[in-house]
Symmetry: C2
Amino acid sequence: MTSIGVGARSTKQREALVHVLDEVDGFRSAQQLHALLGERGAKVGIATVYRSLQLLADAALVDVIHSEEGEASYRRCSTRHHHHLVCRVCGRAVEAQAPAVETWVAAIAAEHGFSDVSHDLEIFGTCADCLP
Amino acid sequence: MTSIGVGARSTKQREALVHVLDEVDGFRSAQQLHALLGERGAKVGIATVYRSLQLLADAALVDVIHSEEGEASYRRCSTRHHHHLVCRVCGRAVEAQAPAVETWVAAIAAEHGFSDVSHDLEIFGTCADCLP
DNA sequence: CGTATAGTGATACCCGTTATCATTTACGTC
DNA sequence: GACGTAAATGATAACGGGTATCACTATACG
């Protein structure tokens, strides 16, 4: 499946981007994805990469995380809500679900009268393959 | 207590910054803090604000969070490990601890062979005072 | 096929943050 | 208190990720 969403046209650039995202199993920044596209001969402008990633993110077809330095990274993901265990060296990611976390978040928010609540939980570490 | 750390000199600028941080009960960005300093007559350069905040953060005297847009915000905090429930309108924050989250994080990391693990959990919402 | 319209890309721009470097300040020592 | 030195400051340039602009191109659909 390489379509992006209803109302979005299918272009070579977007298909190339989705293709790259499918081949990679970890989080990659927009710039990395742009470079990867260039390497395989797909000349896609950086602006288009950002636009398409945003489309994909809005359609929940990719997950976005923000690294410890604030840079955004993207990855093809399942659609259920989940968190990530991300290798900060290679970007490889493991999806993890934790119902306990969700319920705790909801409880603590309710307890303090907060509404319209969202949360962000990312776990960063070094995976076994990337140990020094 | 307004000292910053061993090996750091005490300057008017840093004391003013710490003072402002003590008066405020929510997260504030570097630029907001810089503006607050200006309002109360303390002329502190923006570069110094960033440098001092980094010092304070390194000394674990302030907590840093990154908003959903990637901007860093700072707040005087207790030194124990904890998470935050942050109002995305006024910046007011509630500290929260969740041992269950810590143990879950450690377990999932160990299970997948990740080492040198850190995690980030921030909860954003709208507090009761800021409801429309 | 032809047209309306979404998409593209080069580039300028924005904004938060960091680096540079000359000047100033804090602080231990005499 | 005066000195000397290393740290700190601040104005500003530079940097980097991300977005806006706008003329041009390509897609979808009748």
